[in-house]
């Protein structure tokens, strides 16, 4: 496309007063013929001015020097023309207080430093715009499939299927048991979910099952398991099998890279990769069924308490399996002091619920009705930790089951010994109503022992609210064990992805299917696969239903986005996708390995195979590529590099050091805009370029900046680590690793390592940014100007 640039400078919002607009206009390179200044560019007249030029002058690339790209984007929407925004308002004028003592004696009262900043940004915007190409949305050759596979036929799965069906899509529910409904069908009652949140309610599962079975858009397949999921969102090919059986389409077990190995080993069978060899993960089952998106609602399984009778030999047998993974798991605690395994009347809350669901509560030892039951929420022994995987649901279950005891027998007594009573939100009303029952006795306490005492049991507890160590005689003891997400021990999904069959790094979340609770509750690290229910976190039935709705809508959004060729999340408007220049690929596999979303597979030679519908457009592959062959049409090595090169670096000026800030556009760049909105001033010698993610920063930009003579580079991104806030999970962490490596390279060039730094910030910490920038400037002043200046 022949580009014809038009540059439009706005004088509104204080720009005209703080800047010498005339001088600024003169900085537009002479080759740009169309350059206009308008008092209020976002007014209808201003917009008409641009539209007029587009129509009559053939302008197809618009550079708007006004406010931040984060505002008024709907006003300055000139698609299909390319629009580039130069942030003079939030980025220059609002965020930089003029130095009153540095005003020129004559001419416009403009601070030279601020003027230079605006000029640089204008040049950078024009340089970037020249390198941007128009975007064509990705359309796969085959039609996007709009059916949704729901894995798991419990409350969550069925509710999700119902939501999918209500929205007009087809859903197929896969359940490995002989009938759907899950654990909810075994319950006696449910905790309340409606006002006044006080009384136990009849289970709703029956009705959900009926509705799902009657819905023509829902197909339920029981006694079915997933052997392999091949493909990408919109184009998943799923192979099924009977539970517990082997299928030739079972996904081959992943092989972990050996210590110190250069490249990861090939998966088994990859050598003989033929399209129909199932041992190759790239092989496609001709009989597979196609789906567009997947909802994972496989739920939980009870935490298995280790019984004291268990032989250690059994554990040894499992040891090699553990050794394959990362660090061996911590030794499972045993609960000998609670008599579990030795005393038949000590049961788990799951066993108790099943018993209550079937009828009266009876002692397992002699079948007599249980007149008093103790619910133990915390195993004690000097720690106040609850049983593993216990949660607020465990607390609610204890309260509910205490009520069962009382329902069965008005003279019965139910004791609850807890360290934490978690009744969140409206559930506090339920707690209050349970408290009202004369026969339910609650106390915080450290349960020391449960032992047989003649016909019954005796429970001893220390440090109770009763002020001393107590013992109570009970007929039964119920242990409040937790709910383990099935994803902890099993990939479940069986994805034919190069990065493995399940979700990655789930140990960060104790095996719960990953997501960012606050920002993206249903997203996983696999686009097209959305989680809901207890696989996600321990939830009550009503919460599961709500969760299912969210995941169902997300799955539908995925189908629609894939169909339009835009990213699903979080760049849900983005039509660009990474374009690989394969002729120059060296098969280093860095992109395949580093993509946090497993979007890239690779062929037998190691050349990446793209799956655009899996891609989130973060650009981490672009940042990873040492050959710089990965680019987006509107965001490329060249476009950012050209912007860096467009910065005017003064030579021999100790005062005017130049620092490049690469700011993540998810949190850091908005935070800088907020600084402007709040008139927080920061150093005027920095030049900021927004990037999609710090992970997309290619080292070559750092080199460009340093060889240009810039004195330092500050990368501002999201927090990484266990409680990461990176919108692309791994981006800021990868950037940190890469920058560490570039530090070594700098030292070898006799440049100081301190010149390149990365800081982490959340959007609400915007007020700290000016200080952080000042701190970095001080470091740069300390190490002095870049010795390569002027070369």
């Amino acid at each position: 496309m022949e580009k014809k640039l038009g540059v439009y400078i706005c004088k509104g919002c204080g720009l005209g007063e703080a800047l010498d607009i005339e001088k600024l206009e003169k900085k537009v390179p002479p080759k740009v013929k169309i350059r206009k200044v308008h008092p209020i560019l976002c007014s209808p007249e201003g917009v008409d001015l641009i539209k007029n030029d587009m129509e009559n002058e053939g302008v197809n690339t618009v550079v708007i020097a006004a406010c931040s790209r984060r505002v008024l984007w709907d006003v300055f929407d000139f698609r299909p023309a390319i629009t580039e925004r130069v942030n003079l308002r939030e980025g220059v004028v609002w965020s930089h207080k003029p130095r009153e003592d540095a005003m020129p004696e004559e001419g416009p009262q403009v601070d030279e430093w601020i003027q230079e900043m605006a000029q640089d940004y204008l040049r950078m915007g024009i340089a970037g715009a020249e390198k941007i190409e128009p975007t064509e949305p990705y359309k796969p050759e085959e039609e996007i499939n709009k059916r949704i596979m729901v894995m798991g036929g419990g409350v969550t799965g069925l509710s999700a299927a119902l939501e999918v069906a209500k929205a007009g899509h087809e859903a197929v529910v896969i359940e490995k048991e002989t009938k759907v409904g899950g654990f909810a069908t075994k319950m006696r009652k449910q905790t309340p979910w409606a006002y006044p949140y006080e009384d136990l309610q009849e289970p709703v599962i029956e009705q959900i099952v009926k509705e799902a079975e009657a819905n023509p858009k829902i197909t339920i397949r029981t006694e079915t398991e997933v052997a392999r999921v091949f493909g990408a969102p919109g184009l998943y090919d799923v192979s099924f099998k009977a539970p517990g059986t082997e299928s030739k389409w079972d996904i081959p077990a992943p092989v972990e890279a050996a210590e110190g190995a250069e490249a990861p080993p090939q998966p088994p069978g990859a050598d003989e990769a033929t399209p129909d060899n199932p041992a190759n993960i790239l092989a496609k089952d001709p009989e597979a069924e196609r789906f567009g998106a997947i909802i994972l609602a496989t739920g939980w399984k009870p935490y298995e308490l280790k019984k004291e009778a268990e032989e250690p030999a059994e554990a040894e047998g499992e040891a090699p399996k553990e050794a394959e993974g990362e660090a061996p798991k911590e030794e499972e605690p045993t609960y000998e002091h609670l008599g579990f395994g030795a005393i038949p009347d000590v049961v788990t809350n799951v066993a108790f619920e099943e018993m209550a669901g079937q009828g009266k509560i009876l002692r397992l030892s002699d079948g007599k009705p249980a007149g008093s039951v103790a619910f133990v929420q915390c195993p004690g022994q000097g720690s106040d930790a609850d049983f593993p995987y216990a949660s607020s649901i465990t607390s609610m279950v204890a309260l509910k089951q205490a009520k069962y005891v009382r329902e069965d027998n008005p003279d019965a007594k139910a004791y609850i010994f807890y360290q934490h009573m978690r009744t969140l939100g409206q559930n506090e009303y339920f707690y209050k109503s349970i408290q009202q029952d004369e026969g339910i006795f609650l106390t915080k306490g450290d349960v020391v022992s449960v032992s047989q005492n003649g016909d019954g049991l005796v429970l001893e507890a220390n440090d109770t609210l009763l002020g001393e160590n107590i013992k109570v005689a009970v007929d039964m003891v119920v242990l409040g064990t937790g709910m383990v997400p099935v994803t902890r021990d099993d990939p479940i999904l069986n994805l034919a992805y190069r990065q493995g069959p399940g979700f990655k790094d789930l140990d960060l979340f104790d095996g719960y299917a990953d997501s960012n609770f606050i920002c993206f509750p249903y997203e996983t690290r696999r686009t097209g696969i959305y989680v809901a229910g207890c696989v996600h976190r321990a939830l009550g039935i009503q919460e599961c239903r709500e969760d299912a709705t969210g995941a169902a809508l997300k799955a539908i959004q995925c189908l629609e986005s894939a169909n339009r060729g835009v990213a699903v999340h979080p760049r849900s408007w983005d039509m660009t996708f990474p374009d690989f220049f394969f002729q120059r690929c060296t098969q280093c596999k860095r992109c395949t390995e580093e993509c946090p979303f497993g979007a890239l597979d690779d062929d037998e030679k190691g050349t990446p195979l793209t799956n655009p519908t899996r891609c989130r457009r973060c650009g981490i592959c672009m940042g990873a590529c040492p050959e710089r062959i990965v680019n987006f049409s509107d965001y490329s090595i060249d476009s950012i590099g050209s912007m860096v090169k467009a910065i005017d670096v003064p030579e021999d000026d100790e005062e005017k050091l130049r620092v490049l800030i690469l700011a993540c556009e998810n949190d850091a760049y908005p935070a800088l805009d907020i600084c402007g909105l709040n008139r927080l001033s920061y150093n005027a010698h920095v030049r900021i370029i927004p990037v999609r993610c710090l992970g997309s920063v290619n080292v070559v930009w750092i080199k460009d900046a340093l060889s240009k003579g810039m004195d330092g580079i500050l990368m501002v991104g999201c927090k990484f680590g266990d409680d990461y806030q990176c919108h692309f999970i791994k981006g800021s962490e990868l950037a940190d690793i890469r920058m560490d490596k570039i530090g070594e390279a700098l030292v070898s060039l006799a440049l100081e390592k301190e010149r390149v730094q990365q800081i982490q910030i959340a959007i609400d910490e915007y007020d700290k940014l000016p200080g952080m920038i000042a701190e970095f400037m001080e470091v740069i002043h300390g190490v002095g100007p870049n010795p390569f200046k002027g070369f």
């Binding site: 408290q435 004369e438 006795f441 009763l466 001393e468 160590n469």
Partner: protein, 382 residues
Amino acid sequence: MAESKWVEPDLSFVKQLKTLGGDTLKKCYQCATCSVVCPISPDEKPFPRKEMIAAQWGLKDRLVGNLDVWLCHQCQDCSTYCPRGARPGDVLNAVRSYSIAEYAWPSWLGKLVPDGRFWWLLLAIPVAIFLLLLSAIGHLHIPEGEIEFANFFPTLWVDIVFVPLATFWIPLTFGIGIYRFMNDIHKKAVADGKAKRKDLNIPDFLKSILCTLPTILRHSKFSQCTENKDRYVPHILVLFSFVGLFVVTNCFFVALYILQVPGPYSQMNPIKILANASAIALLVGAIWMISNRLKDRGENVGKGSYFDWSLLVLVLGLVVTGGLSELTRLAHLPALAYPMYFAHLVFVFCLFAYLPFSKLAHLVYRTLAMAYSRYSEREPCE
């Protein structure tokens, strides 16, 4: 680690406390705000938080005989600040009501008096006794002439009822109750580690009573209450009017039997002035207390149970019938004066005969508990 103690909740105890005004006891979630805001709770092992969980768990043996339950003056600061509306002040009051019945001898009377269903029976007993007596001596009619109550109900016959009541019935029944009570609170205070002094020495204990009296007479505990400080004046009025009436009764007893001066006495008689003043104070105090009870303190704080109200009504009845007997007598209205006097005698009988079983027993139990608290050095002597 201390030896574990057996704990066996008593469901019926919980239910009973609920009927005695402690209906909110199960709402407590043990935050201990109550113990913190209580102006009169000792620093060591403060109440009422621990009493609240004991009540929830139906642990009768930790509450009945618990010294602290009686140190509580129902200020209601705790109830006002309770974030859960558990009303600890009312719960402890319920425990005291329960305890009075628990120590009562004979125990059936301990059950009967607090039971709202039998108020008529309690009134019927003196009515029947007096009617029987009057008919036996042939006085079951309104006498002619100048109104003189002795003409209707000869003083001797009145005293044949009341003197044994005061000298035999009360000492016997209350004595047994007090004996049980003292043993219990001493045993428990020692076991709970609240008593620094482990023995129970009678002379020293009597000294502690003496040292407690100024506190009681000055109502210095009441005066520390903030939420319920409006009860300070009426309670002091009622206490002192009872003291006044006690003095008056004894003086007239002496006047009648030793000095042989029968009534009615002149209104200018200093004893009579004391009597009238006490009666007025009692009337004011009783009405004031009732209106305080009816005050809306939010969350039904301090509304009281039948047990509380029966005493209030009894006192009001006592003073109203007493006052009206005198006024109707002075107004020469025999048809009103004599029945009023009869009613007054019924109320007086009730006050005396049911003293160890009614709320009025707190007069003694609380005094003893406060004295014991000083004796055992849980609290200092003022």
